[in-house]
Each structure stands twice: as C-alpha cells, then as structure tokens.
Symmetry: none
Subunit: 469 residues, 2 copies
Amino acid sequence: MSSNQVEAVLANLETTQDEARARLFDLLRIPSISAQPAHAEDCAQAARWLAHEFAAIGFTTEIRETAGHPIVLGHYAGPEGADAQARPHVLFYGHYDVQPADPLDLWESPPFEPQLVDHAEGPRIVARGAVDDKGQVVAFLCACRAWYLSTGALPVRITLLLEGEEEIGSPNLDGFLAANRSELAADVALISDTGMWDRTTPAITSQLRGMVYVQIDLFGPSRDLHSGMYGGSALNPINALTRILGDLHDDQGRVRIPGFYDGVAELPAALAAQWNALGFDERAMLRAVGLSAPSGEVGRSALERLWARPTADLNGIWGGYTGAGSKTVIPSEAHAKLSCRLVPGQDPAAVLAGLRQFVTERTPPGARVVIQDFNASPGVAVPVEGPFIAAAAAALTEEYGKPPVMMGCGGSIPVVGSLKSLLGLDTILMGFGLEDDQVHSPNEKFDWACFEGGARSHARLLGKLGGFG
Amino acid sequence: MSSNQVEAVLANLETTQDEARARLFDLLRIPSISAQPAHAEDCAQAARWLAHEFAAIGFTTEIRETAGHPIVLGHYAGPEGADAQARPHVLFYGHYDVQPADPLDLWESPPFEPQLVDHAEGPRIVARGAVDDKGQVVAFLCACRAWYLSTGALPVRITLLLEGEEEIGSPNLDGFLAANRSELAADVALISDTGMWDRTTPAITSQLRGMVYVQIDLFGPSRDLHSGMYGGSALNPINALTRILGDLHDDQGRVRIPGFYDGVAELPAALAAQWNALGFDERAMLRAVGLSAPSGEVGRSALERLWARPTADLNGIWGGYTGAGSKTVIPSEAHAKLSCRLVPGQDPAAVLAGLRQFVTERTPPGARVVIQDFNASPGVAVPVEGPFIAAAAAALTEEYGKPPVMMGCGGSIPVVGSLKSLLGLDTILMGFGLEDDQVHSPNEKFDWACFEGGARSHARLLGKLGGFG
C-alpha cells in the first residue's frame, strides 16, 4: 500500500462536501438536549442516526441502553492479515447530546434549523451542537466514510463510543466503561471535542480542567412573607445566599473553599515558558466579548488562569420576585448553581466536601440548606510524547503546514480521566473548534473550513496509524 | 346636644347590620384591580359607587379624573352655626382599588364573590379587598350614614378623599394633593387601613416605615460564555453581584450602606417600655411561618426591629441558568430587586444615594451597573399626643373597654407622609384589621366583629370630635 491511498481518501472528501454537509445537517436537526426530559426521544433518535451511519461503512453498531440516554457502541474489525491486526486499535469517543438552546430569543436562526451562513472569514454552520460535538463527530464519520468508499476498508481497528449525556456530566458513562472493559479494549483513545490554537494553527490539547458542579438550595420561611410585616425579624433566604456566595473569593481572587488548593502544583517552568511564547492576547479575547478588564487570580498569567488554575463560577441564581416593577416579598427560598473548574492534583471529592463545609459554616440559624451534587471529575494531564501523539502531530502538520500547539484547555472532558483510570487508555485530544464558536451560547457555529480540515486531519491520522505515509 | 345622640347612632348601626353587609358586598363584587388595565372600567365603577353612596347622606361628591384611575372627592359642609363650624374638619382618606387576586387556584371561594363564612372565632367576610381597604372604608361610610339617618346630620365637617391607585404606589396622588391644597384644607386626617393589636385590643398606629425600592442590573460579557473556556479570565456577573450584595449587612446585622443610619433616633425609653410591656412573642410569630430563629440586628427587641429600625431585604434575584441540572455558563448579566424599609428621620433620597455609592464602589472593573429606582417614601411618625389622637383613643377605649395600644407598623402607607408634607395634616391611623387577614394573599378576610367594631368606633370618634360625650 502507498500514500496514494491517502490522496484518494482526501480526493473523495473533496468531492463529497455537499453530501457531508447534508449529513451533518440531518444530525443537527435532532434537538438532542440531554438536560431536558422532554427531549429524551430526540436523544434516542440521534443515537439511532449515528448507529445507522456507522453501520453503513462496515461497523457493527448497537444501541446500548443506560439508566439515562443510550450509548452507541460500534466495532470496526479492521483489515484482515496479521500485519493489519498489529496496527493500533483506536477507541473514538464523542457525544451526540447538546446543551439547552436558551435564551432562544438571542438566536439569529432557530437553533435546530442548521444554516450555512456566509461570513468574511468563510462560510460557517450555525446550529446548537455545530461544533460541540456533532460537527466534530461527523467530521470523523466523514473521514472513515472516505476511507471506506475510496479504498474499500478503514486502515485500523476502531471501537466507537458515542454517548448522549456529556452535557449533563455523563452520569452513566463510568459504570458503562467499568462493566464493559474487555469489549472496550484498545490501544489509544481519540477525542475530537476541543479546539485549534487559531484559524490556521492546529493544536493538540494536553491538559484539561475537571469540575465539581452543585446546586445550592436555601430554604427560609414556609411561605412568601410581606417584607413590611416581617422585615427585621424573618430570615431572608436571598440575603443569606448572597452573603454565603459573596464570600467565595478573597481580595486576590483566590477561592476561599477550605482545602481548595490542596494538590495544585505550580506550573512547570518549561511549560510556562512555552505558553508565554504563544503571545496570547487576553485583552483581545475579552474585548471580543465586551469586557474591558480581566478577572481572576491576581499575579497569574492569562493562560495559567485559563488552563492551569482552578476557579469557582456561579452559573445561575434565582429566588423571589423577578417580574416587572416591585413586589415587597421576603421569599421562602433561594437557589444557585455553582461550578468549580479543577486542575490535575485536586481531588474532586475533597473539593466537594470543602464546598459543603464552606456553605454549611455560613448558613444562618433557622435556614435549611440542601446541596445537590451534579458532577465531579478531576483535571487531567495527557502525555505529550509517544507514537500516537507523534502520529497526530504529523497528520496535523501535513494538513496545516505547521506543527500543532500543545495547549491546555480550561474546559472539562471528564471521560479523558475515566478512559485512563477505567480502561488504561491515553487520549489524543485533536479538535477543530475556534474560540469564537459560541459553544454553549446562542448562535453556536462551526467554520466550514474547520469541519473540512478536521475531516482531512482525521483521514490523515487514520492513515498514519495504519502505516500509510 | 347630648351623648344620647351617640347612643341613637350606635342603635341605628345595630339594627342596620344586614343592610351594611349588603352594601359592603356590592362594593366587593366590583373587581377594581388597579394594576391590571383590563380592570380600568371596574375601578371607575367602584369610584362611582362610592360617590353615589356618600352623596346619599349629604356629601357633595365628584369623580375627579387623573392620568390613571379617578379620585372620589367629597365634602360634607357640617352642621350650621358658628359653634359647629369651629369643630375640627376631618379629611378621611381611603382607597377603593385592590391587589390582583392571583394565584386564583388558592382561593376557597371566588375573590369577587364575597361570602360570609362561619368560623370558630366568629363570622368573617371573605373577598379580595375585604379588609384592604373596602371593608374599612364601608365601615366609615356606615358610621356616617348612621349619624345622618338617626340625627339628620353628621357632627363635623368632612372632606372625603378616596383614591384608586394605592396598590400601585399612588402615582397620581401627590400631584392631586399639590394641585388642590385649598380644596383639601382640613384640621386632621383620618385613615382606616391598619390593624388592631389583637382581636380584643384596639390600636392606633403611630409609626410607619417608608421605603426605597431599586432594581440592580449588573452587566458583564456581551454574551453568555462557556465557563471552561473563559473561567479565570472573564468577569462573572453573578459572582460580582453576590459579592456586592453579600456585603450588605455586617456581622451584627446592621446595614452597611453609607449614611444608612443618619437621622435614625434611638427609641424613646417610654415607648420602648410600652412596647416591651405588650409581651410580643416573636418566636411564636416566626414558628407560624416555619422559622426557628429570629434574624435582624443584634441587641434590638423584636418590635423595635419590626417597627422602628430600618432594613434591607432582597426581594428577588436572577441570572444565568435556572433550569434543571447543570449548565456551565458564565452569564452576561445578573439582576436583583432590593428594598429598604425606612424609619422616621431617614431621608429616602440620601438612602438611595448611599445605595448607589455602595453598589458602585463594589462593582469590579469591566462590569456595568444600572440601578433603577421604583419607589422612595420616608418613614412617618404620627404625633401620639394632642386632642385628635386623644379623641380617637377615647372612642376606642369606650368601644373595647380598654385603651388602644400605640403601635408601630413595619409596612408603609406613603400617603401619610404626603398628607403631612403637602397639606400639613397629621393623621389618625385607626384601623381594624387582624394579623391573620391574609392581606394581599388568597382568601383575604375581614372579621365581621372587626367591621362592626370599626363602624361603631368611627361613629364614636365623629361624636367625640363633634363635642358629644
């Protein structure tokens, strides 16, 4: 075999662009919002769509039920022959579920009616899930499809693991991994749910933050009270909740949860130097989202704060009267959603325990507090050396004409930690998103050039792993 | 003339109970909800009903239009003769509008189909407006009517001022008072829109809290952001808002707004002793609403905190994701509604300025804050001595067999301040509500005994002011 086969695969991708886009649009039209029970059947439909698509190119696929949304499991046996069977076996992980689309009125087109929109920087796909993660999964699908159609086979063994609960913290994934260890055996994992350094520079992500996510419910009086008749005597749950949460950071921007920084290492000097050399312009990033000044820990570089330091952010808060004008009520309850991004070295269980202690210590007499725990995953560091990362780096270098940046990522992909701890797999994090993709926001988009570059890079990587070129 | 005339008036009230109740039911059937434009004609109808009823007993009445709902203005010239004209001229203020009846499904009978309901503590009228304020206005009407029917005249000059916008903050009342000063000239104002101490103990309210009510809108990024991608760099408006509001009280429960306590006097020792002697059971009041411990300023008695100390209560808060489960968003904005109850001596404008300073000083760089001001009225102290209060106290003592409690009120009746500042009038606050009347809530009620006692007390007070007995 020769690298001509890779050229044929790339040529096939070139001529099937319209078909690829139609395929992606089909998936984007399914409102598979995992957080909302009303969309359970949509999640199941997205799973069936993916199982069908991969089955069409030689995968054996199954829909595996969980206590929540199903998992699509697929196996591609790989080419025959001892030589071929000696090639690395890749486990590809992706997710077909998406975030809720609210606030709907800020979308320029309906979130589940995908559009190809012209833009000064090139055309883009606009829809919920365009980049996170449906577009990136379909880019991989198209790479496999091009191999299958132009050469009759995929060059390596592949196990496919597509879940439908990533956006709600993957409550059933670890159990599934633990229960199906032998069926999921592979040599390396590949995930495409991260970003490029910029529009023309590829990246491999080597460091991910973890997360602890809780909801704090604070209860006071048994009914809403008139603030004139009771104000000065009755506990006000919103007063109490803001008092607790207002104490979350000290004047240096450090998080006050007890034990929060236990295990957090200082950034190695070499990595710090590498990141500093990237010339990241924090003010430009913030300007693009309407902010004039950075926030966060005093005395830390921007990339350090974004990639290598833990945070605590309130993601939602509500209580009392929220309509127009005034209503003089002391409400009976108040609520907040709080998430901490964790870095490697922090123990999620310890952070959660510290958070419970932090809230409980500050809850006034007479109030009752409930802390619901939605999510707890550690930060993860991925090896930056070895044959698999080298193959990915080579594929990206060929595609983009320059080597990838080895970057950190402020977000969390908890499955990376689970794949390591439960299946012993290191992960290649090769993604094609851009900073302005509006992930989790209205008008989420995926540049068409990124989709295409992603599909081509996946095709090249499969070739590299299969020993082609 | 003799106190036999008062006896005749009371006897007339006794024999006309059914007629009085029918009259009250007629007014309660009119859904005069001032907040809802669909009920504008109902408000006008309630105004016409009152004008007609008072015209039937010798008042000259007019419907005076405003930019909102009309004001009923009435004049009773009083008995003839120099002696009679020397008697005090009373301005009676009341309001014919009511709060919205929502939530409708919690009413045991339709809110605008008044019922006489038997109860262990005696029969009660159940309807929206039963006690606030239609029932109390009709009690005064019946007192006037009984004087008119049994003696042929009312004993004093009376100006009637009945508005239809009390429940929406009286936006047109101050303008009306200022524009009609000479027509509204009187010696003392009388309002019946407050409560008794308990079922058998009358009260005169001598102190009312005022209010400053604002909405705080805090704006950060121009769109919602992914907390993984931006957390540690982008300003989080909920973090910022809770940090500002969490600072609102110190560890002693005192409000930290600059200058907040300027002008707040310590409670006079005599009044403190009187209130302490009432034996108010704060824990029982709180237990009834599910609270186990009092809140508020350390080292102050319960009635002092409720009646004579200013407060700051958050009435509503919202921002970010408030649905089920988790969403890792840094929202673009966060909001809160905050009201301060003021006591006499505090300047609402100064409190508002202090509040703006408090928020602005704590707003981090890059955030934008807007403070909307909905309401500002001062706390009011009514003189507890002098001939008018003495007359009211004597009338109540005769009716109930014990002297009235001179009590404070944690709520606000802004018109009391306006009557003083614009017309120079002190107000007698003689009301007949009970703590369990469900004011502004479903199943609002007015005990029939309170209605009757109110009508009789008003009849006695008119007699006292007219020099009878």
